[in-house]
């Protein structure tokens, strides 16, 4: 970062912050509009997910009935042993791995190696689809056990509503991300960005994908572990 002031006409640090915001035409130097807009969309999405999680917090604090213990509700019996929360742990690792392959896809894109970039993006999409598949399994299991948005046999009635709302909205984001990734990967393979000489679209797609992973970090902590 020390070389920035030499090679870059924009001042760094807090002075840069003031001069960027006070400057003409655009505040976000070195950030394309596509990227800035994706960030602003993600900021709005942050507020949506935070409202869900805050609503969940409110009903969980205010209910007089016992909250179902997630550790037991999401336990799976594997080889005769009941392992707490194991499916959710596997889902977490799958999503983190997909973030890892996505970060590498961005890197290969900027190196203009479009075949590995596209393959890594498709791997990311595949891992995302795996995640959604496991979520569908989890939903099926809970619905069979009688969990409904208006009640469940394990405890506080609000559990089902919070669960279906939060994980459903997150799963929708993952599903949309899988489609988005597949489309961009296809265009990368076809050479659309080679002609334009700009692979930033992979980074923008990556921002969305990492955000989906980021939201899961908070859902995992507050809904499943708390």
């Amino acid at each position: 970062m020390a070389t920035e002031s030499v090679t870059n006409p924009q001042p760094p640090g807090l002075r840069g912050l003031v001069s960027d915001w006070a400057s003409d035409k655009d505040a976000f130097k070195q950030v394309s509009w596509g990227k800035a807009m994706m960030w602003i969309f993600l900021l709005s999405d942050t507020f949506i997910f935070s409202c869900f999680l805050t609503g969940y917090m409110t009903v969980r604090i205010s209910t007089t009935a016992d909250w179902p213990n997630p550790s037991e509700v999401f336990a799976l019996t594997i080889a005769g042993q009941s392992i707490p929360l194991i499916l959710i742990a596997i889902m977490t690792f799958v999503l983190i791995s997909s973030s890892g392959t996505m970060a590498m896809a961005v890197n290969f894109g900027y190196r203009r190696r479009r075949l590995p970039a596209a393959l890594l993006m498709l791997t990311t999409a595949l891992l995302g689809a795996t995640f959604v598949g496991m979520q569908a399994f989890e939903w099926t299991k809970l619905i069979e056990e009688g969990v409904r948005p208006w009640g469940n046999p394990m405890g506080a009635a609000q559990f089902g509503a919070a669960f279906f709302m939060i994980t459903g909205f997150h799963g929708l984001h993952v599903s949309v991300g899988v489609i988005y990734l597949s489309i961009v990967a296809f265009k990368v393979l076809r050479g659309d960005y080679e002609r334009r000489g700009n692979y930033q679209i992979i980074e923008i797609t990556g921002l969305y994908w990492h955000f989906v992973d980021l939201v899961w970090v908070f859902i995992f902590a507050f809904f499943y572990l708390w």
Partner: protein, 109 residues
Amino acid sequence: MAHAHTQGQQHPIGLYLKIWGLLFLLSTLSYLVDYFQFQGLMRWSLIILFMLLKAGLIVAIFMHMAWERLAIVYAILLPPGCLLVLVGLMAAEADYTLLSRLYFFSGNE
């Protein structure tokens, strides 16, 4: 960074692999919090600690916030601070609701 300006964010692949490993480690640790059934303050502080470390790594390295100019860093990361106010208000309100329910509805059911 002039390089980054023209060709986007370029960092060694090894960096991403290290962060990937760290995220795996932190996820395992947060899973172990549940597996070993830590309770009370210990559980909550560990959950929050691992959560914030994971979120920080994802935003800073995977989403490249660490290399962006402060103008966009602050524009994106400061507004969610408002949410803490919402959380504070709703926690107080939820406590009040719970106390009201306990006061008016207990014993009648």
